[in-house]
Amino acid sequence: MSDQVILLVEDNANDEALTLRALKKSGVVGSVIVTRDGAEALDYLFGRGAYATRNALDLPGVVFLDLNLPKVGGLDVLRRIREHEATKLLPVVILTSSREERDLVAGYTSGANSYVVKPVDFARFSEAVHQLVLYWLVHNQRPSKLV
């Protein structure tokens, strides 16, 4: 469907498996990077720590970001992404269980491009993931250089 990488930031192994399954159904194969906490996600994006050998200029097409994350929370990850010159334009979709108003407000305030609540019904969850991939990796146009 697209050769762009999706960065999935998700600490729950079940949700990870279900998201990967839904992505697979949408035809996204082998180009999903999974990081399991906020610190690891930032390391990946900025080419630090375990990802020191990675080319940090090579950014994912979109980040699917959970809010409740160990170490560095989702909102903090988002703020660091927006603060950093190299990543400030990176599309970030919050993908979470929470539909609390304050999380929505905090998410958009911190610069989220979209906020999607994961439905319990897997059929609807699959559909949501499919729409996200279609929108962010196919229809959406972004600057050729994010920097």
């Binding site: 079940n14 949700d15 399954r21 979470t96 439905p119 319990v120 059929a123």
Partner: protein, 498 residues
């Protein structure tokens, strides 16, 4: 060498001049009780001219009630005449020309002249003094009967007065307390207080007014009580501060109530915070495993379909339905919790239009159902549009749901004017319910129908009730099995809870 005592005999003219200048009314009567002399003050006090009095019986100056007995008293005096006050221990009264009476003090002196006994009486109008005495007694009675302790102290800090209130509060009698230092009332170790009270005394001496403070005081029995103290300066006639008056009120009960209130408030706030944290955790953490249950069941259904028989697939489908139902329950509970968290707006709300929107949503959800809906126009009431919309959604949702099995489903929304104001109703001709269970209608998770019969989470009416109550209203229902139900509600009976 002592001072030389000089004595002169005064002539009549001089004597008259002295008598005229006297501050008391002076009336001289002869042996028959006729007035033979009055001074200027007599005219002023009794309101008669001198000519009107001379030659009259002295009884003209006596109140009518005592006139008859007066000549007798007069005769009695004449037999043992000496200088003395008249009517000791009796409230004597004089009578003015205009008939009004007034309290007097009278001093009598016999005068022997030319063999005739004259009686001179000096009469003093004591109206002012009496009323001053009465005022003093009244004030003393007020001080004495006050529930507060009223304690006077001099500049050394010695107690000089002590009322019954002080006895009630502190336990010492007036005899025990007066003459003692005020420090007998101070709990040991309350040194700061000592300074505070001294400072206050200094300020009062410097002309300060009233100082108010709250502190601890020790009673005779050793108990320490919370008191609120007001101190004001006591001055002598020339305005010098000679002490302080202290009014102490026992505020132990108030303090205890305040503490209990503060504790309860803390507990309520903690509970509210915990509830919020709980709802948040429910929102996040309870949905995730449900998604896994649903998602992996679906994965099995998809990936292993060939290895499952019909029954196996049905079981997995049931697992999925249950997970989704539980997600709905969580959703409803969160909604219920949020109802009490958000603040209540107060603005005119068009309930008719909210009701029409609710019906429109139901129709779009089940476009094939034909339900006759009557919604009265112009039902406007003050409230929170978002919350009232949720309430009406629930009430119409119920009516919609429970009329499902009727051939001629009908829902009506309107308002009737009751004695105490307007009452709204949502009426349907659906399944109804047994009134024996009416008290269970509004409880969380209370259902009067099985899920198989009518679906639902059992949170809807609890939600509605909470919204109505927050709007200061009441909700109740009437129903008959098989004939339908009517939900009645009022709004703004009381001040709404924001």
């Amino acid at each position: 060498m002592g001072a030389e005592v000089r004595s002169v005999r005064l002539d009549e003219r001089t004597l008259r001049a002295v008598l005229e200048a006297a501050p008391d009314a002076i009336v001289v009567v002869d042996g028959t009780g006729r007035i033979v002399f009055v001074n200027a003050q007599t005219e002023k006090v009794f309101g008669y001219g001198r000519d009107e009095l001379l030659g009259q019986a002295v009884e003209v100056l006596v109140p009518e009630a005592f006139r008859a007995a007066h000549p007798g008293h007069r005769a009695g005096y004449s037999t043992a005449a000496r200088t003395r006050p008249m009517g000791m221990g009796i409230d004597l009264r004089g009578r003015r020309k205009n008939g009004t009476e007034f309290p007097v003090e009278i001093s009598l002196s016999p005068i022997e002249t030319d063999g005739e006994l004259l009686i001179a009486s000096a009469i003093r109008d004591v109206t002012d003094r009496r009323s001053a005495d009465e005022a003093k007694l009244r004030l003393a009675a007020i001080v004495q009967s006050s529930d507060d302790a009223i304690v006077g102290k001099n500049l050394d800090g010695t107690i000089v007065s002590w009322n019954d209130g002080a006895t009630r509060i502190f336990g010492y009698t007036a005899d025990e307390a007066i003459g003692k230092p005020v420090t007998i009332l101070w709990p040991p170790g309350l040194k700061d207080d000592e300074h505070a009270e001294h400072r206050i005394l200094d300020r009062l001496k410097a002309g300060g007014h009233i100082e108010h403070f709250e502190t601890l005081r020790r009673c005779k029995d050793g108990r320490d009580i919370d008191v609120s103290i007001t101190m004001s300066p006591v001055r002598d006639a020339s305005g010098n501060v000679i002490g302080a008056s202290k009014v102490a009120r026992d505020i132990s009960d108030r303090k205890r109530a305040e503490e209990a209130l503060a504790t309860a408030k803390d507990a309520a706030e903690t509970a509210a915070r915990e509830l919020e944290a709980f709802s948040y955790s429910v929102a996040h953490d309870l949905r995730a495993p449900l998604r896994a249950i649903d998602g992996f069941s679906q994965a099995v259904l998809e990936d292993y379909a060939d290895r499952l028989d019909h029954e196996g697939r049905r079981y997995l489908t049931t697992v999925r339905e249950s997970a989704q139902y539980m997600a709905q329950l969580i959703e409803s509970l969160l909604m219920l919790a949020r109802l009490t968290q958000s603040s209540l707006r107060q603005e005119p709300v068009d309930l008719s239009s909210l009701a029409r929107s609710a019906v429109a949503r139901l129709r779009s959800g089940q476009p094939r159902r034909q339900v006759e809906c009557h919604i009265a126009d112009g039902l406007v009431e003050k409230g929170d549009a978002r919350l009232l919309s949720i309430a009406l959604d629930n009430l119409f949702g119920n009516a919609w749901k429970f009329t499902e099995k009727r051939a001629d489903p009908r829902i009506e929304f309107g308002r009737v004017g009751g004695e105490d104001g307007s009452v709204y109703f949502v009426k349907d001709n659906g399944a109804g319910f047994d009134m024996a269970y009416a008290d269970k209608l509004f409880g969380v998770f209370q259902r009067l129908h099985s899920v198989g019969e009518f679906e639902g989470t059992g949170v809807g009416l609890a939600t509605v009730q909470r919204i109505i109550r927050r709007h200061g209203g009441r909700i109740w229902a009437e129903a008959k099995v098989g004939e339908g139900a009517t939900f009645w509600f009022t709004l703004n009976d009381r001040e709404p809870r924001r």
